[in-house]
């Protein structure tokens, strides 16, 4: 069914499920205009997992919020670009249409499930509410479906659990409930915004396994936003690395890990603790991410880049294909890949 395209970027279906095209977002703050997204583009196909990697403030979550239409405006202003779902631009679609897509077309999982679940309603009620309002289900049917959904995300004693409040759930269980809630309307695309960051390591693995399992089963598109490279390696088909509101590298997961095509990706991978480097200090990336109020001229990464040349300080590197199936925004991407 799916074939490998000529670029080798993995399976591509006939039309992408979601296409984020050259998105620009600014935040108008008291200190000035922060350019949060500067031309972000990515695509997700059905059944595909795209991992969006990056430090805090790199624009991962803002992109997701713009896609969902839950960006706070003000202070956010979308200054350009398009978000196409099945080819339809959501940014220009009427509000009613956008609401219809939310939940049933695209759903989102939040980082902190405790704050993303309404504390005054039972978990069951919150799942049922969508089914009753959006699907017109009766209370009884909705309750039945809610129990099924909680069982789907492997919550033990789902029948009793639907009647409990979010604060009566443990952290992992809450995130499972959150996943169940986002699946209630059978979305085609799921955006998981750091779904495991608030959880401990063993629970993280369970949640990731669950997400992967559900995604495969439902042939869903999955956008996984994270800063955890370990999480990404196991589940992602493709990886987009973001830095200062730009995607600096995009390629299939395997080639990103083997031969990073951007110095920032290389530095990120280098900073991972490794079993074969026992006793040595961890490598870090020097400096801090740039302030989005004053993004440096040229390549935004050049002040922290070990390979920076004169050209990096003056010219913004264009996003180009250093090799088939890979996009990189580095002047020296080809050399970097060849060196690896």
């Amino acid at each position: 069914m799916s074939t490998v395209d000529e670029t080798g970027a993995g399976p591509i279906p006939s039309a992408p499920l979601l296409e984020v095209d050259d998105l620009f977002v600014e935040f108008h703050t008291r200190d000035g205009v922060a350019r949060v997204l500067n031309g972000v583009s990515y695509r997700v196909a059905a059944g595909e997992t795209l991992a969006v990697l990056g430090e805090s403030g790199s624009g991962k979550s803002v992109t997701a919020q713009t896609v969902m239409g839950i960006l706070d405006t003000p202070p956010g202003v979308i200054t350009g670009g398009a978000v196409r779902f099945h080819g339809e631009d959501l940014l220009t679609a009427p509000d009613r249409r956008r609401r219809a897509v939310r939940g049933s077309g695209i759903a989102m999982i939040f980082q902190d499930a405790l704050s993303a679940l309404n504390p005054v309603f039972t978990v069951g009620f919150q799942i049922e509410e969508q089914l009753r309002v959006r699907r017109g289900m009766s209370r009884k049917d909705a309750r039945k479906r809610a129990v099924e959904l909680l069982e789907l995300v492997k919550i033990p004693n789902a029948r009793g659990r639907v009647r409990q409040y979010p604060h009566e759930f443990s952290g992992g269980m809450r995130q499972r409930a959150m996943i169940a809630m986002s699946l209630a309307l059978d979305p085609e695309l799921l955006i998981a915004d750091e779904p495991t960051t608030a959880l401990d390591v063993t629970v993280q693995a369970q949640i990731m396994d669950l997400l992967k399992e559900i995604q495969v089963e439902r042939h869903m598109g999955l956008i996984l936003i994270t800063h955890d490279l370990g999480v990404v390696a196991e589940v992602a088909d493709r990886i987009a690395v973001m830095y200062a509101g730009r995607i600096v590298e995009q390629a299939d997961a395997r080639s990103v890990y083997r031969r990073p095509g951007h110095p920032y990706t290389a530095a990120l991978l280098d900073s991972l603790p490794r079993l074969d480097q026992k006793g040595t200090e961890l490598n870090t990336i020097k400096g801090l991410p740039p302030s989005l109020l004053r993004i440096p001229d040229g390549c935004p990464f050049h002040p922290r880049c070990a390979r920076a040349q004169d050209v990096c300080r003056t010219e913004v590197p264009p996003q180009h294909r250093p090799e088939p199936g890979r996009l990189s925004a580095c002047h020296f991407a080809e050399e970097l890949i060849a060196d690896a």
């Binding site: 704050s115 309404n118 005054v120 959150m178």
Partner: protein, 325 residues
């Protein structure tokens, strides 16, 4: 033919014994996971919780008693509150008149019972109106923000700047021309002046609670799941923002009954022939030192009622927060 009927009677007997068994079980394990399909909602859970709080039970029974007084005063007294016997003026409590007689020779017990109605009506109406106006405006201001919030907040500031008594004096003296006004009209005026001068407090409380709720992830999550603005406001923000307003409302109810008394005391609010606790307290002001019982009884009822509502507010607030259960 006989089979089904016997079966039916047998099953009814069986059902009956089950009911008895359930009753027995219920007394010991109330709320235990015996009934798995019992719906659990904020309101029903809050009620389950409230029923077990002594604070609520005390406050509730006091309020029920006062409400009963307001609705059916003749259950408590047969004496006409409008009958004055000047010969008994300022007589202290006795077996015949439990609370004694006031300056005009009115039976204080009868008047206290009959006074509950005016005080309660003014208190409840003023509170309802205040919470409705303030709560709605606060919720809208908090949700939409921007110029709407700015406009509403400035208007609220204007009303907030008016001292309560001064504002009420102006409203009541300019609209409540003496003589022509009926009892209903004067009550309406008192309620309106209280509500008009008090809604900004309620609006501010609701606005800040709504802003807090709006920034929560669950409101974002609701939007991400395609909920409409009205659903977000009513389903997700209101239940999370309502607790402080409810607490304010119960405290305000007591305060408004007191405010009615203040206005009556100043000769601006309710006046004879209407009987209210405020009117009675006003009547007793000149003779407090010679006949303190004329102040004591209406003031005690007023205080107890206000206290009961404050206690109720406390209990309700705790019951509405699932985390304190």
């Amino acid at each position: 033919m006989t089979d089904p009927s016997t079966a039916a009677s047998a099953s009814s007997i069986e059902a009956h014994t089950h009911v008895l068994a359930a009753e027995h079980a219920g007394t010991e394990t109330a709320g235990a996971p015996g009934k798995p399909d019992k719906p659990r909602s904020l309101a029903s859970d809050a009620w389950d919780d409230l029923r077990r709080r002594p604070l609520f039970l005390i406050a509730g029974s006091l309020i029920a008693l006062v409400l009963l007084m307001a609705l059916f005063p003749f259950l408590f007294t047969q004496t006409d509150p409008g009958y004055a016997d000047l010969a008994r003026s300022r007589q202290g409590p006795s077996a015949q008149a439990w609370f004694g007689y006031d300056n005009q020779g009115y039976d204080i017990y009868a008047r206290t019972i009959h006074g509950a109605r005016a005080s309660i009506v003014v208190g409840i109406c003023a509170t309802t109106l205040t919470v409705l106006i303030g709560g709605t405006l606060g919720l809208l201001a908090g949700y939409y923000g921007g110029w709407l919030d700015g406009l509403m907040s400035r208007v609220a500031d204007v009303f907030f700047g008016l001292p309560f008594v001064l504002g009420a004096i102006i409203i009541l003296s300019s609209f409540g021309s003496t003589g022509t006004t009926s009892v209903a009209q004067i009550m309406f005026l008192v309620v309106m002046s209280i509500a008009v001068l008090s809604w900004p407090v309620c609006m501010r409380i609701m606005r800040s609670a709504a802003i807090t709720a709006k920034q929560q992830d669950y409101v974002k999550a609701a939007r991400a799941l395609g909920a409409s603005s009205s659903r977000i406001i009513l389903r997700h923000m209101l239940p999370n923002a309502v607790a402080p307003v409810l607490v304010y409302a119960t405290i305000a109810l007591g305060a408004f009954i007191g405010a009615e008394a203040t206005l009556s005391f100043l000769g601006l609010g309710l006046r004879a022939p209407v009987v209210s606790w405020g009117v009675m307290i006003a009547d007793s002001r000149d003779i407090i030192r010679v006949a303190p019982h004329t102040l004591l009884f209406p003031a005690a009822f007023l205080t107890a009622t206000v206290l009961a509502f404050v206690m109720l507010g406390d209990a309700v607030r705790e019951a509405l927060d699932p985390k304190t259960r």
